[in-house]
Amino acid sequence: MAALTRMFGDLDAAADAVQEACALAVAKWPVTGVPANPRAWLTGTARHKALDRMRREAGRAEKEAAAMREFGDRQDPGSRAYDDTAPDDELALIFMCCHPAFDPAVRVALTLRCVCGLSTAEIAAALLAPEPTVAQRVVRAKRKIRQAGISFGVPAGDDLAGRLAVVLRVIYLVFTAGHLAAHGDRLIRGELCDQAIRLARGLTTLLPAEPEAAGLLALLLLTDARRAARLDDAGELVLLADQDRTRWDRAMISEGEELLERALRAGKPGPYQLHAAIAACHSCDETTDWREVAALYGELIRYEPTPVVAANRAVAVAMAEGPAAGLVILDTISDSLASWPQLHIARAELLRRLGREGDAREAYHAALRLGPPAPEREFLQRRLGELTEPGR
């Protein structure tokens, strides 16, 4: 490692390279046998790895400026993370970074650092976390890989499905962090959406037989296709129903639809394919087929038996069969979601459509009492103003 550090003048780069070489050794030597000169093998492999990394970093600087929000880059499957590494190593690296022994926040940071090649400063900016925190997370995680014996390899057999679910979840988290930033000056962080799509695309290429990987990519493409229409000129979020559909990215939508169709044909449904199918219903040119959406949410509940999915299903049922049918479902879950403003808003809307103004007013007030974000508060107050005052 000292030799490498001297060679590259960068302790971190050398440390990373040595670590990668050791990880490879751990994975390969039991199979291939220990080489005649293990030390030379490690140094040679580490140097190769360090050179790889430098090439990658150098290539990155050029692409960087253009790549971040360029549409062209999004279409380019040969993005920087997948160009010069053997597919098996690339896949093993993703599984290592998304190991369930790491905290979810650590998985996200480690994946962005080691697989996407972002700097800790870039990760900190994207995730709105202090840079020292991100740096420390990454350093500790790399140390844990070595100390705890987290192996470098693609999980086999029965283990693959469970581990793949964790990887898909990490990519989904990267996307949602960009799709609707929880705080900070920008509501949408496009660079994170791009990275997530790049990761999902890479994974789909590496694991072509996994329909859930394709389902996730389809979901991200179908959702991100609406990016340009999701904010108005004032930078406020625009609801799906009010979006200017001409600003949707048609190429992304059709790619997502094709991917989804191919994935569904494998006959191995899963939550990401269902989410993608729901997104596809919302992306079609004609009016949304709410009956279909309700049925898909009904399927999704089998994989994600959460009150939030049930609430979404209730809204879809209300759109398909009328407010009364939706209200019946909402009332069965209202206890478990009492602290979720959206539940009260959904109930209030259905009650209003049923003409039960007193109950609707009560539900709007219940949502207001939970202190929703400013745009929702304004919406609620406007709705309350539209309802006739009691006793008049």
Partner: protein
């Protein structure tokens, strides 16, 4: 690679002697032990006497200080250990999940530093 599994029970001590609960626990442990032994990963495995039986040793300024009791008071009840040698963390985590303590208490899987070899 060697991993020490620290067994933290949900309550101190063992069930009443002669109770059905104790018999079940012993049977469950025998099964878990046997599976690890058959797979060739088990090095040792034992429950611990209660903390009241502990004596803590500290050497300060050349003198040995003894304290009656554990080194640190912690909320969890550290009640035993299992030492295994596994191919990697995934393997160790799988075995940890087979231990009865994992079902009502918790099992901390802690890698050992390989002394005299690359760590």
């Amino acid at each position: 690679m060697k991993y020490l599994m620290l067994l933290y029970a949900s309550r101190p001590g063992l069930p009443e002697p002669g109770s059905e609960e104790l018999a079940t626990l012993i049977a469950e442990w025998a099964t878990a032990r046997q599976a690890m032994a058959d797979a060739g990963v088990l090095i040792d495995c034992a429950p611990l006497q209660p903390v009241e039986a502990s004596t803590t040793v500290r050497v300060r300024d050349g003198g040995t200080l003894l304290t009656d009791g554990p080194a640190a008071e912690i909320k969890e009840h550290f009640g035993g250990f299992t030492l295994v040698e596994c191919a990697d963390l995934d393997d160790a985590l799988k075995w940890a999940a087979t231990l009865p303590t994992a079902r009502d208490g918790s099992v901390e899987v802690r890698p050992l530093i390989q002394v005299g070899g690359p760590s």
